[in-house]
């Protein structure tokens, strides 16, 4: 029996080839558009199989860090034997010539995505209609439940939305407990009681012990006053993760130049005073120590992106690009206070709140650690702190230990040269309210756990 209702459906309404061409064209002409489409669309979102193939080719070039220009697309398609006659070239050229204003890419992507969802909905309707026609003995409750499940999956906007069934959750719980049980056994037997990390090393033994490392999906906020070690902390973390641990870090800096960042590394990796390196006041032995430091940096997973006009949008785009191309484990934003406002009407605290929310979402979606640095007020407080705290998994504050406290606090006297505290303001997975004394050598840009004096 024919389906009179669905027969009336205008097939043309189920696809939008022009939008598909515009998205592909934009991917060939603008990197930001390419990042956006790469992260939002999949091959099956394209109605035209030809368009789907081109999308795959462009994504494959992008993943291999080849800028997917029209020339590269032609070369790739030609080498794969996909272009056999001039008509194929004309078709590609026709697609490439659907130029758009790069800023409108999200609009065109949405159109492609919407049609893709509409096709899935149409398939659902057809399938449901067919079931009613053919299986007249079926339980109504059963049909409705199946339809509801399918429709729920369809209306979930993001492809990565995931609902855990009781089975999934129980299996996950069992795996997690088993993993921890085995790890605990390992700690006792192999590591003699020292906890191995669950995530990336923090660069401080005490902080490692309390947090078990920075974990994928975590947002870490570090607050410090101006001139009190925000960048030093960021680079100390970078060193620990990318040089010592050999994981991959993307470092976004909004206020320093490439030269300044490179020089800081010289000091961090050689232990020679920053000021002397900057002025060139070093001897030949020190020069070779510094060069040896840089050779360690060369072998590391540290990627630096100085970006004076960083916006939340741009941060998302850069993070996605580096996740796709370099598989980053961590991103550090130094620092959010200098990010450009998207909406000039927003108050500073509202903007910070928006940025922090974006960064948390990014950490979870890309399954990376995101650390963002914020500036504390002169009294040590933070504007919009409550909201920021809510979004973060770990909130740290870095501040100098007041002189009176150094003189009077008996506990501090058990350490050699403590001069700063890392205060754990919030820790979703463990103890908070803890202050860790550290030694921060401002001249050498080096931080370490304050050493305990042997009694």
């Amino acid at each position: 029996m024919a389906d009179p209702v669905l027969r009336q459906l205008d097939e043309d309404n189920l696809f939008d080839l022009e939008s598909e061409r515009r998205v592909l064209s934009s991917m060939l002409h603008a990197e930001d558009a390419c990042v956006e489409a790469y992260n939002t669309l999949t091959t099956i979102d394209f109605y035209s199989p030809r368009h789907g193939t081109i999308f795959d080719l462009v994504c494959s070039l992008f993943e291999r860090e080849i800028r997917p220009t029209f020339v590269e697309l032609l070369k790739e398609a030609h080498s794969l034997g996909l272009l056999t006659n001039p008509r194929d070239i004309e078709e590609l050229k026709y697609i490439a010539e659907h130029y758009i204003d790069d800023e409108n890419i999200k609009y065109w992507i949405k159109r492609v995505k919407d049609k893709s969802r509409l096709r899935k909905f149409e398939a659902f309707l057809r399938h449901s209609f067919q079931m009613v026609l053919e299986r007249q003995d079926i339980e109504v409750e059963e049909i409705l439940m199946a339809a509801e499940e399918e429709l729920t999956n369809l209306t979930a906007l993001e492809y990565d939305d995931h609902i855990d069934s009781p089975f999934d959750l129980a299996a996950l719980g069992y795996d997690e407990v088993e993993r921890r049980f085995l790890r605990f056994k390992e700690i006792k037997e192999l590591h003699k009681g020292v906890l191995p990390l669950d995530g990336l090393p923090t660069g401080f033994d005490t902080l490692n012990h309390i947090t078990l490392g920075y974990k994928p999906g975590d947002l870490i906020i570090l607050g410090a006053q101006t001139g009190h070690g925000k960048t030093a902390f960021a680079l100390h973390t970078s060193r620990s993760v990318s040089v010592d641990y050999q994981s991959t870090v993307l470092y976004l800096n909004t206020e320093m130049s490439r030269q300044q960042i490179a020089l800081r590394w010289g000091s961090i990796l050689s232990g020679i005073e920053h000021e002397r390196i900057r002025s060139g006041d070093i001897n030949e032995t020190e020069l070779s120590i510094i060069l040896e430091g840089y050779s360690r940096l060369r072998e590391s997973g540290f990627y630096s992106y100085p970006c004076p006009n960083l916006t939340p949008e741009k941060t998302i785009s850069i993070a996605r690009k580096f996740k796709a191309q370099k598989n980053i484990d961590m991103m550090i934003v130094d620092y959010v206070g200098r990010m450009d406002k998207v909406d000039p009407k927003l108050q500073e605290w509202q903007m910070l709140e928006q940025i922090v929310k974006t960064l948390k979402m990014l950490a979870q979606n890309l399954n990376i650690v995101v650390m963002c640095l914020v500036q504390l007020n002169p009294d040590g407080s933070l504007q919009g702190a409550k909201r920021m705290k809510n979004e973060s998994d770990l909130m740290l504050k870095l501040a100098p230990i007041p002189r009176e406290e150094l003189e009077e606090n008996e506990e501090l006297k058990k350490y050699r040269n403590p001069n700063y505290y890392i205060h754990i303001d919030k820790n979703r997975d463990g103890r908070s309210g803890v202050r860790i004394p550290i030694t921060f050598d401002l001249q050498k840009q080096i931080m370490k756990d304050a050493e305990r004096i042997a009694l």
Binding site: V71, L74, I89, Y99
Partner: protein, 105 residues
Amino acid sequence: MNEDIRIRKIYDETAAVILRQALNNHLTSEEMAFLFSLLDKIFDCTIPEAFLSVITDFLNCDLNEEIRDIIKANMLATDLDDDQSIKSGITSIRDLLSDQEVSTQ
């Protein structure tokens, strides 16, 4: 048409012409690769002006087939990602062109 789109259009059109010529066997794969690379460099503004000027001189010169082939081989051997290779390419092509001018005078 705004300037940006006009430039993109020229780029796309030129790329399509190159591949079309290759598919019609009017260009070898080596020639195609060289022209694609040259096109990208021109649009990225990363090719020295002197190299473009030597190409223009070559195209405007009335050369015999042998010298034309030698210059072409020189051009194809130039690595457009290597400044040194470009410099020596420019020098040898210029020399070949000036030799030709002398011999025709």
